[in-house]
Amino acid sequence: MELHPEPTRLQPWLREIWGYRDVISILVRKDFQTRYKRASLGILWAVFLPLIQALVFVAIFSRVGHFQHLKYSYPIYVLSGTLAWSYYSTAASVSSTAIVDGATLTDKVWFPRCSLVIVPVFSNLFGLFTSMVLLLAAMPLFHAHYTLRLFLLIPAMVWCILFAFGFGLCTSALHVYFRDVRFIVQAAVLIWFYVTPIVYPASALKSIGPYFAYNPMTGIINLFQYAAAGRFGPMGKGFLVSAVATVLLLVIGLHAHRRRDRLFVDLL
């Protein structure tokens, strides 16, 4: 092992992270297990929470919003969006504080710090997968049809994971230098939910609807909704914005971690 003031080059750096895949996988498993260990319902909570949230939204907004005359199943639209969002918000907010919260581990022994960001992104996947299964099970109840579009759920999940990872990388690095990030992310995720077309279609907002396309989560959520509920409006611009944002977050986040990961510990 050699240590220089200069950061490791990209390829050896990525190779090093790959070399720690066993450790990451055990950390993911432990993270998942410890989270629900003490609860009597255990891992069922990973599914219940987003499901309850989604059902409440369906129950309330389908009455408030007059969405009955849409050409697609509104409950499935809400359900798919909420379940995807639920994964994203948990993974993003936990990973954004991962470096600082993992201080007891990072202080003593070296391993690539972005492992800590990878852990919550993966340990929350169980919830996402089971949510998607429940979504499929719920479709007939809400008059949605099984179509080939459902296969789009797979790229949608991958995209959502990548975006959450990129977001986590950037915010976790920032959080080391600026502890307010924890609360800023909490607040942002809260507001973000309402400016993303999850419980209502963008078109329902009339004039400000088109601006939703500039929200980088819109495209990703739309893909989930499109896969489950079908066509509901223009999506092209949203996809483009989401794709660009995902790439940018990943590039910036990986760059920041590569350059700084041996300096984080000095500020913890």
Binding site: M1, K30, K108, V109
Partner: protein, 415 residues
């Protein structure tokens, strides 16, 4: 070309200290930028460690020892220079290794073992030995947040010494646990040394350093001041201890009698080390800020762990002489440091009123005196025991020769 186990090449570490936490926000503002204190924790340090060597690191708190250890462990990058480490390294830095508080002891053994470079199967093989060594017993399934500090440390030490590291880094960890566990740690360290493990250890215990490290690096204010023989390094360390405490604390007691100077001499020469039979003379120059009638004194000697090794007070109650405000008086104590196990002893002086009821001045940062152990002995006192077995004297160890602080090759500080 020799393949070093550890190579530290012109390494410096600079820390930026910012006063408050809103630092980032402020530092990106165009005006009113917060002042950034630059602090050099480690300055241009050079040394190499051969495979199989054991090296001790000495220095006061803040001398840069831990910073250096973190860099050698690979946790933190140097600001300048290069560090090269060959072989599997097991760092055990300060209290609490890389344990996850919510996880059980068992889970932590796996995570930690794997972070230290073992595969899952290798950890499984060693699992029982680790649990055995750590003595945590049934607590192995309990989350480590419920562990006592001792259990926490023992488990950490157990993992680190069982991953068969080529290089073991220890920062202040041998001081943990009860005596029995410490002895076990020493044994294990010896075993690792014999197996050719390279060990770099930071310790404040002269005992541990002397016992385990033939070679010692002495750090002071981020600079590597001395690299060599353990006894010489220990002497030099005490020399610096006394210099530094003199710089830091002279006369800042806030009491009516203040320390204006102190010297420790052996045979009429300044020293910071002395042997059992030496006559040591320690002199405090005390200045009185108020008029004092017939002052008295208590001379105390504290051992490394703060226990009282010796104390004596003067004839309390005797009226003998008055001092006016502004007067100075020399308090001179002559003694022989007959402390069996040896070690670092702190010499303290309390100046009291005539009856010894009120302390009017105290030297809380008294000089340190290093006393090498008499061979084969331990404990605070020196009872001058002789042991005969079947009428043959068996306690006549050959004498240790002490290296004087003044002859130790250290650079004198500028004043």
């Amino acid at each position: 070309m020799t393949e070093y186990a550890v190579e530290v090449n012109h390494v410096s570490k600079r820390y930026m200290q910012l006063q408050d936490t809103a630092m980032l926000l402020k530092s990106i503002m165009p005006f009113n930028r917060p002042k950034r204190d630059i602090f050099m924790a480690v300055k241009d340090v050079n040394f190499t460690v051969e495979p199989g060597e054991t090296v001790g690191i000495l220095g006061r708190n803040g001398a840069g020892k831990s910073t250096l250890m973190r860099m050698v462990a690979g946790v933190s990058a140097p600001t300048e220079g290069m560090i090269r480490v060959r072989g599997r390294i097991a760092p055990l830095l300060s209290v609490g290794v890389g344990f996850h508080r919510e996880m059980s002891g068992r889970e932590n053994i796996y995570v930690n073992g794997m972070l230290l470079g073992l595969s899952q199967e290798e950890v499984a093989e060693r699992f029982d030995a680790i649990v055995d060594f750590s003595e945590v017993g049934d607590f192995i399934e309990t989350p480590v947040k419920f562990y006592s500090t001792g259990m926490f440390m023992r488990l950490g030490f157990a993992v680190a010494v069982h991953v068969s590291p080529q290089i073991l880094l220890l920062d202040e960890v041998l001081a943990v646990g009860d005596v029995a566990f410490q002895l076990k740690c020493f044994d294990r360290m010896r075993e690792l040394q014999n197996r050719g493990t390279t060990v770099v250890m930071v310790s404040h215990s002269m005992h541990a350093i002397r016992l385990l490290c033939p070679r010692v690096l002495l750090f002071r204010k981020g600079v590597l001041e001395f690299d060599g023989d353990a006894e010489a390094a220990i002497s030099a360390h005490h020399h610096f201890l006394n210099l530094d405490s003199a710089e830091d604390h002279f006369g800042h007691t806030g009491m009516p009698a203040i320390v204006a100077g102190r010297t420790v001499q052996r045979n009429g020469v300044d020293t910071s080390a002395a042997e059992h039979d030496d006559e040591v003379e320690v002199t405090w120059t005390i200045r009185f800020d108020i008029p004092v009638q017939s002052p008295q004194a208590v001379f105390r000697v504290l051992a490394e762990d703060g226990t009282l090794a010796y104390s004596m007070h003067t004839r309390f109650g005797t009226e003998w002489r008055d001092f006016a405000a502004g007067d100075t008086a020399e308090f001179r104590v002559k003694f022989q440091p007959r402390f069996g196990g040896g070690g670092t002893f702190r010499l303290l002086l309390d100046v009291t009123d005539t009856k010894g009821h009120v302390v009017i001045g105290t030297d809380t940062h008294g000089p340190n005196l290093y006393v090498p152990p008499r061979m084969g002995t331990a404990g605070l006192g020196d009872a001058l025991a002789e042991v005969f077995i079947a009428d043959r004297i068996m306690s006549d160890h050959p004498e240790l020769t002490m290296i004087d602080a003044r002859t130790a090759p250290v650079s004198e500080p500028q004043t």
